[in-house]
Amino acid sequence: MLEQYIGATVMFIMAIGIACGMVFMTSVLGPKRHFAEKMEPFECGEKQIVSPHQRFSVKFYLVAVLFVLFDIEAVFFFPWAILFKKLGMFGFVEMLFFIIILGVGLCYVWIKGGLDWE
């Protein structure tokens, strides 16, 4: 069973090697000339006025929550889709209800303005 994954695992290890090798190469080969002005974070030539490490708009959290909701729903579709032909009418009707419930949720979010980005 796990034999299937041998190839992917080897590839994964090699990919780590490639990626780490690249990072290593660039840090070894490049020149190193540090001075205070250069090390400033880029702010179009200005001094950094606000620190980036602060709260950001709640809109993004909302998207994250919606993602969790809808992606979990999407996960339920996968096994159902594979077995769709075997489940026949019963599976279709069940999923119809599922999609309707999902649709109610989408409608709710939509009309409440959760998807609007001002």
């Binding site: 660039t26 000339r33 205070a36 950094q48 769709f84 998807l115």
Partner: protein, 358 residues
């Protein structure tokens, strides 16, 4: 056992050679050259060796040299470890998604069955989604660890955009799964030996939805708000230089190849030529013996596969140089209000049609 492992190793090296060694560098040139042609400019033609420019192909070498020898820059106040980690996290998923994508069928070479896929997983498609979504972390960490406002804005946009389109992308391929009834990509490819069972005929809407969602997932124009250079300098990789910067680009180009490969495999017959079956090729080249005929079939199939992939890469580039960038609210609106309901409707209609036909 050892031979199997050796074959796997060869396949892996082949894939890395094709994606990292060939496509990623050449695509940087193709992108420039194509934009030049489309915008009626002369384009990349300056790098030369002894006066030869070779259509600017030497720019690839020049770029590579430049990236390797640039200073590895980490700004003050940045989180050094995470700053270094993020390009690695972004690149690795792009490299290993190819592990489950078959670039050819099954061939009998010297009495041994060779399957042209590195890992023939029964959950292949799920593997792609699972691995590809990890890349989001790389981009988010990149922006957050840079101690730069532009980067942070870019990374927040990346996070929101990628997770939004991941939902759609997951739902768009449900139709394909329903039609084929399997998640094993080699099986999906094999089914499409019959030209009229190509995904594009069975799931035309699914194709457009999936293609749009996957371009958005790869953050390319017209969905490149996270790195919009006219708004955010360079978005999440503003503070990256040298090869670390190059790795983000490499990830993007490799993902273009991956998208091309998935689209080919799911919707355009994979390695199959229209109306030409495996048996047809084998019987046509029967005079070369079993192994010989199989080698010919292998070459044809791999060639066909990558020709199709090249076409879809080309297509993505045309899209890029044709359309302007969407506004961020338009991107989110497209994802949640148009693609998501459409893909849900696609699932229902597909189900109804399948049931009606049975």
């Amino acid at each position: 056992m050892f031979v199997d492992f050796l074959i796997t190793l060869v396949k892996i090296l082949f894939i890395f050679g094709v994606t990292v060694g060939f496509f990623a560098p050449v695509l940087t040139w193709v992108e420039r050259k194509q934009s030049a042609i489309m915008q009626d400019r002369i384009g990349a033609n300056r790098a030369d060796i002894l006066g030869f420019t070779a259509f600017g192909l030497f720019h690839i070498i020049a770029d590579a040299l430049k990236m390797f020898t640039k200073e590895d820059f980490i700004p003050r106040g940045a989180n050094k470890a995470l700053h270094t980690l993020s390009p690695i996290v972004a690149l690795i998923p792009a490299l290993i998604t190819f592990a489950v994508i078959p670039f050819g069928g099954v061939y009998t070479l010297f009495g041994k069955e060779v399957n042209l896929v590195i890992s023939d997983l029964d959950v292949g498609l799920l593997f792609i989604f699972a691995v590809a979504s990890i890349a989001t972390y790389g981009y988010v960490i990149a922006g957050w660890s840079s101690n730069n406002n532009w980067s942070l804005l870019g990374s927040i946009r990346v996070a929101a955009q990628m997770i939004s389109y991941e939902v759609t992308m997951g739902l768009t391929i449900i139709g394909i799964l329903m039609v084929y009834g399997t998640m094993r990509l080699t099986e999906i490819g094999a089914i499409q030996e019959d030209f009229w069972r190509w995904g594009i005929f069975l799931q035309p809407v699914g194709f457009f939805l999936f293609f749009a969602a996957s371009i958005a997932e790869n953050k390319r124009i017209p969905f490149d708000a996270p790195e919009a250079e006219s708004e955010l300098v360079a978005g999440y990789f503003t503070e990256y230089s040298g090869l670390k910067f190059g790795m983000f680009f490499m990830a993007e180009f490799v993902e273009m190849v991956t998208i091309g490969a998935i689209v080919t495999l799911l919707f355009f017959g994979g390695w199959n030529l229209p109306f030409v079956t495996m048996d047809g090729i084998l019987s046509m080249f029967d005079f070369l013996g079993e192994t010989g005929a199989n080698i010919i079939a292998l070459l044809i199939h791999v060639g066909v596969f990558f020709a199709k992939v090249c076409f879809f890469i080309f297509f993505q580039m045309i899209v890029r140089w044709t359309l302007p960038r969407f506004r961020y609210d338009q991107i989110m609106k497209l994802g949640w209000k148009i693609l998501l309901p459409l893909s849900l409707a696609n699932i229902l209609i597909t189900g109804a049609v399948i049931l009606a036909l049975e």
